[in-house]
Amino acid sequence: MSTATHQNPTLRRSSVRSAWSAWLAGGLLLLVLGSALLGPEIAPWQAEEMDWQAMEAPPSARHWFGTDLVGRDLFVRTMQGARVSLLVALIAISVSLCIGVPWGLLAGYSGGLLDQLMMRFVDAMYSLPLILIVILLVVMFGRNPYLLFAALGAFFWLDIARIVRGQTLRVRHAGFVEAARAMGASTTHILLHHLLPNIRGPVIVYTTLAIPGVILAESFISFLGLGIQEPDTSWGVLVADGVQTMESSPWLLLFPGTMLAVTVWACNTLGDHLRDMMDLQQTDRIN
């Protein structure tokens, strides 16, 4: 029964925060999303195209962000990386929602021994060095990106399950649920039509807050050389490569690093703001 946030140092309590930072965060996030979608289309280079005349070249009119070690356009690579990193986040979060929401709903709604057992399992998972286990899986079963995404998802569902369970407990005995039950509605019907809509808000908030965690975890694994494979790329891969040449070719670190940091910051800020708006408290206690 520790806290809701695990290995992701983004836990915070209600704080006074001005709306402009949320607007800025939202705007930046849209900008990142937009450039990820459009960037590779408008740039004059292909992601895998090598410019033999410009190996490791600094930013110029020809290459807006410069080129990497084999002469590929860094602007296109960064935008390509944005697509992959955001896709990792999307898939991992989807996986964690697919496990976490039913898990939390079931535990919270059924209560009793089943609830105890299910939440004990979540507790047990919390006390494991999960990211190391993800690495272990990746090393053992090959570097399939989908395995990586799924493994990360299997790691982030714990928070979701706790939040959902807490919310479910809260509304389980609410009047409209009792009323529905009295009218003979099936459990499935109650779960889907009465409970699910009521937990949507908190789930959205914690999903926003989980995205940075996934992105950072991917960069962590890629740094060790166990993540996304070339010629595919991600922010983690680009940052890991950029760190290797941070003195001689700083642009290789600067552009992808900034994109990554901005995205993480924006998601955190936005998530905080949404939480403040909804005035959510932590709901992670058993009983």
Binding site: M50, R143, Q229, P231, S248
Partner: protein
Amino acid sequence: MKRSPALLVRKLTCVCAIVLGVSSMTSPSFADTQTKSSVLRLANAGEPETLDPHRYNLRLEETLLNDLFMGLTTFDARGNIVPGAAKSWSTSSDGLTWTFKLRTDLKWSDGQSLTADDFVFAFQRLQNPDTAASLAYFMDMLDNAPAVNRGDLPLEALGVRADGPHTLILTLSRPYPYLLERLLYPTAYPVPRHSIERHGDAWVKAANWVSNGAYTLREWQPQAHVALLANPHFIEPVAIQEVYYHPVVNEQSAYNRFRNKELHVIGSFPVGELGHARERLADSLRLSDLLSMMYLVFNTSTPPFDKLPVRQALSMAIDQRILTDQVLRSGNKPAFSFAPALLEGYEPVQLPHTDIAYAERLATARQLLADAGYSKAAPLRLELRHVSGIDGKKVNLAIAGMWQQLGVQTVLQQADLRNHFAQLRQGNFQVAWAGWVGENNPEHYLTLLQSDIGSVNYGRFEHSDYDAQLKVAQAQTSIAARNQALQIAEAIVVNAYAVVPLYSTSVRRLVDPRLQGWFENGRDIHQVRYLSWP
């Protein structure tokens, strides 16, 4: 509830303060390394698995074992083969019996004298099935070695015996002109029988350590250092008294620690920093060619790589000079033959298309692929396996880019060194990057494509004429006759496009400019006993 946390906070603060205080306490400077004139700190490419010369596997262990032990032959400061524990030797006319005269002043580091019996014990221990030495085959030219290693014959059946304390006689099952070179590998080093019989497997612990090289093991702290101390009983005095080998895997970290004067010698640094190093560390920079062959291997047992035209097209589209001059940019030498051009006394056979202009080669390659049935609509798709790391990544990305000009679509698959070669030996690949750091002996490279050599023939290349020609070469006693036969063999393999030679590696080291006695050499071997501070 409001009372007890205050106590806890205070206790917690107390604990934190102590920990923080301890960790920020100052101690003797980390940079005291340059002040002591008898200490040397070197970066090693990684952590050794073992310091038992019979159980070693890796090149980075060879480096350490070279300082700890001395075989019958050894290296001088320039990497030449010179007498080591043996002062002279002679060969019978059939090349099958070698007689080594040992020095009479040989001693183990504990003062006990070292005799020919110790060598007999060591050679037998290497082949003993209980030792489980993975490189036992390095000495399989000794008479009965394979049978002894399988446990079919007793250890005494091995072709090694002592004739008095100072004479060692080796009997071979086939002529082996490169024996003096093969004896340089740790698999032929003596090991201290008296210590092994007393301590068993624990003889390699620093507390029990006994060896016959210029240095002895003082301490091995995994991931931190292997510390060596000068051996007082070595045949000659040495200048450097204390040696620290630090395992440094990360090239950037090695570079930083060298510049911060924490390390005196590093074996590699990020190639992106080469320009900076040339400007600012010119007097420390040492580039040298390593006798080695980096190549692409086709899996000739799987279609379409069983077809000569496909291999030929892919080979012709690779411009080795772009790889070395534009992509790697650190002095690697382009290779056009399977045996390295650096081999002494051997003239390698070059790829048939070496002198044709690149544009013309591309046109021929396109035609070959079109004839083989590939087109824009149905392109050749393949998976290229390579070893992870910046250099490996760059080279293979560039190769994929070159193949793209033929319309070939390449997917890259990287793995760490260990797993990469495991996949290769199992034949689990289509096209793969591979490398071999070998002897100054063309046969050591060419046998990699012999059909019955086993799993090191990664692509399962089979060519009966080639095998026959190799057998012809191996039967020769003189090196000149061997090399002549090997050239004929190499011509077969080059024309069959079994592999694409890429380049021979160059080592980029940084060496403290004040260090004396450091000479570049093709084996990149630098025994500490030849080094000194001014």
